[in-house]
Subunit: 247 residues, 6 copies
């Protein structure tokens, strides 16, 4: 059930049986010479939609701009500052909590969002308490990173081993190939790819990772892998969601 | 050309021939008993995509949450506060301006966004000047409201007359029916529908517009109308975009 | 009735019969070679005072600094950033709403303020609801731009035709001449004056409008015109105010 | 020289001989049963104007809303929060510093503004340095409280002794009587008036100072006293201003 | 009683008999060639601890970073911007007020903090009222500057006369020598030391005060003086604290 | 080398050989019936001091208030909101980076700080780039959580097994006992202690963890364990620091 395809009366009825909602969050940032700029949003969105179908949960519109300041030295990348993203998440949840939603399950496609989301949650709990919302102390938020689920991680390692890397990975590229086979890109990829350097400023990032990849070989990706990864992610996160709302 | 389906190297090449980009912005809010909560984002997105195809312009990901505080008394509505939306727009444009983009053309699907967008633009110009961006004084922003284009407005009046109303209108509903025919909704619509009361607080809005419509009869909408409206909007806004980047 | 010339006990008595207040808002910015930097504040203030006399309404002190970032390349211009102006308006209204005021009627003298005022209002309604003010959902704000009243606009067109222009207009200059005949300025005015270019950054504005005028010929202004314009504006806005508080 | 009555070209010429400007700042708040709500702004404005005439300095428009949160339990009082006032002062000075102004002399009429002004100044110096303004390290701000000038204070003590008090004082009331003789108020004043309690919250303030006065007897004020106080203040502050810009 | 050495249950018991707490606040900034960078925090902390012992009051952890923007041209200085410090103080007091604390007595070691603290207090009272804290209108804050107590000031003048100066003073250096005799520094001190120039930007400060001292001769300091000054400060501030909580 | 015990000239000399600095960050919050409210700050401070001694690194003053909103239902807990903490960290690093510091190594004693610190870092890198600091792209931040070092974790497990728990742990209590043997507390501890419930709002936290412990048995702590844990932490983090600055 996609929130943007419902009417408000349908949402009102949904709230009679569930207080949970899934929020896909991605990013719009470089993913190396062959990865799509929308990779993280595309993956989060399709997996969230799959989890929504599997569990009957409502799925909110995708937050497609995330915290990607370290990618801004590559054209086409867009980032919110962490404090802006915190404000967005707070407004988002406050709006829905005022309707009666209580469990907010973020399906996240981008490592750079994790810290900011986790920083936002306590601020939001305190804000809702300040507002004296009747359900303030029932509100719970969780972030689930599809690419860090154990089952997904194991499949990725099995398919790509060390060549999975940590940015512009073949596994995330594969999921986008499964979703948009018409947008599979070919480009020259240096054999040698940097890895292991921590993430600091945008300038430092580009200096160390000149084509945008971090230790990955996205040439290994196929749409079929993408389908497999998608299915494992949906299955795992569906369990996580049901556990979360049942707590 | 959709930004999220490009690589950063493709964006780099695009920037050799154009400095313009289209940014669809909508909202996630109630649209009466039969209108989709995502109506404004859906319309902005599809029309922006059409304009991108017609003009060769790059189209950014859709900002699907807007300024809809006055709709928050209806379940499922989500809103950013105006100051949050200003921060989002500033981060968005600052990111892209640092890549070399200069002309930002917002295709907007929601009346409630207009003031905040127009308030954001001067703040952003000043911010870019503060940052000493080399292209700071070349940056230009414009908001184009598809539903307020003269040609679109005339078609809507011709199709629906006074029953067009001003929120949850048959014309915007028609465009969503054209995009998502599988999500056409049926629901009881009161014959009498309020209109003419200005917009104040969320509580006041719901008191005056109990089912969410403002003077509209969305039952008149058809997917065929949606196609017509879409085509007129794409044609008109394509001209506007080309004029804007050619200034 | 000017708020700044009342005691708090007089305000207390006023609130027994009315919950409305008029707030003049202007700007402090260049108005071409012969226009006063205070033009927008002067006009808003004198007209607000006139409306207050005509209707018995209380008139708050003038907000004489507005949103004029695009004029900052001309010496003596002062501007608040939009987010600062939103904070000012919020604090202003919150203060008065805590006393019991409910209808806030802004008489505005500056086009650059409109978007920011309209962006501020929904944020304020939400803020008052957050604060659980007992009258939160009765609070209503409206912005009335004296220079955009139909009657004023028609008189200006009749007096000046195309030479009215859109900044440093003879009509606003005329009103300041009526108020401050001792401050009528003479200066060389280029015959040719630019017009039609949209407003972007301050640098861009000065590049396109080198002496600060936008398509106007303020040399046509006279104090007598100012008196006429003032009287039409007061009459029209008095009706608007009474309609607004009577809703 | 009043800034609002100059053109931008006149300001440009002024800057050839002086980089100084006077900024009157007041407040809009209760001043007891007979004091005007605009007292602090009225006093600051008239004295600033006098200093401008005496010294040839440019005088900016009056900031007539200040930091008066502790007066908000009395109807008609308006206050900015301290952080809002800091933002206003920062925008104000940044605008003028970008034109070339360097010495900002605040003539202040309200004790409640002092801390916030003094808190704002270092933030502004740092902000201008961040912006790399060429004159950033030449910018200097000073706050001069007319009612705290030694000469003014001595005259007040001589005229009123202990009955001067510390809010709604006869000396400030006298200055407003001198400026607005038509607005001299009569009202019952309790003989006993509280004094000596520090200022905390608005509720606490009203509990301790039920009619708004702090230890004062404003019934002693006369327009003639106001004239004397005005003249002493103008004389003293004119010296202070000239010393400040000459440093 | 040091808060950081208590358990929450001990604090709960403390609140049964007192609602007061002492908060030491200092700064981390240059103090001339022989003064410790931590001087202001060290002094505030040791004196607060002494007052806590003398009065049985709870003493909160030291806020060791203050508002010292004007010292940032000297290596090792750290400053919060005033608006950041206001946010810190607000969060600090809001946390403790939610536990039931009501009287907040700041023992301050740095002149640069005073304005910002005093600006913060009214904002905090208003914030607590906004939050509808049951004790909101009982909350009281006071700042006590140990170096400005009359008794301390007189002792300093007696010990050092004019050589006390106003920054990197022998009296504050003496207190640090008393606390950290192992960290007494020797360094060349110019005989001539600047004084009397007001504080503006960091660059201006360093230009006028090249070694960081303002009119002081810290070579006169001894640990024995420090002990004397400490004892006088503790005695005086203990009285002040008891008076404050007893009001 | 403790920053607060240095002069600015000593810091200037330090910068000739190193650009690194250690910043201890803790929290002030309940730690169960026997844990000190200052536990996290005490541990971070003593370990940072040890690492400073072992490596010759400069150690900044301790940030003793952190992000502990979820503990605010227990008296004596103090928390910054995440956005306040981000502002503090930004001001802190900006100050020191302007002196020439480049490597910022946070030794952290509180799990609740991690997300906010990691959210702050990219915002700070972007801020320094905005400010055009010459060393902006050399600035690097890292957070090292002493209690999560593998060696520390293994020792804790060896000493306490499952009874280590995750808040008010015997290992952190032991370190405070080693530092403050005079402040070892005795109190009744329920045998049964809750564990495993995720952290949401403050009210929810207290409901699930009524005495403040999360699965821990702090009665097992001894000062001798504290010494062992301290030594392991210092050794491990000294290596980490040297590796970090040598990158």
């Amino acid at each position: 059930m996609l929130l943007h395809l419902q009417t408000w009366q349908e949402v009102e009825r949904y709230l009679e049986t569930s207080r949970g909602i899934i929020i896909p969050i991605g990013s719009t940032e470089q993913h190396g010479p062959t990865g799509l700029i929308g990779t993280d949003a595309i993956c989060a969105e399709v997996i969230a939609k799959g989890v929504g179908e599997a569990t009957g949960a409502l799925v909110a519109p995708t937050l497609n701009i995330g915290m990607a300041l370290h990618h801004l030295a590559f054209p086409g990348s867009i980032s919110l500052r962490p404090t802006t993203l915190i404000a967005v998440i707070q407004d988002f949840i406050t709006s829905l909590a005022s309707s009666g939603f209580q469990q907010f399950f973020f399906i996240n496609g981008h490592g750079g969002n994790i810290a900011t989301l986790k920083a936002a949650f306590p601020q939001i709990y305190a804000h809702l308490a300040d507002l004296k919302f009747s359900n303030a102390d029932q509100v719970r938020c969780q972030v689930a990173n599809w690419f860090m689920c154990r089952e997904v991680y194991e499949l990725a390692k099995q398919l790509y081993g060390e060549e999975e890397g940590s940015h512009a990975t073949p596994s995330e590229v594969a999921v986008t190939q499964y979703v948009y086979p018409e947008a599979i890109k070919e480009a020259f990829l240096e054999k040698e790819v940097a890895s292991g350097h921590p993430i600091y400023s945008a300038a430092d990032f580009r200096r160390h990772y000149p084509d945008g990849r971090m230790g990955s070989n996205p040439a290994l990706a196929t749409p079929e892998h993408g389908k497999q990864l998608y299915e494992v992610a949906v299955k795992t996160l569906s369990s996580s969601y049901l556990k979360f709302i049942g707590e």
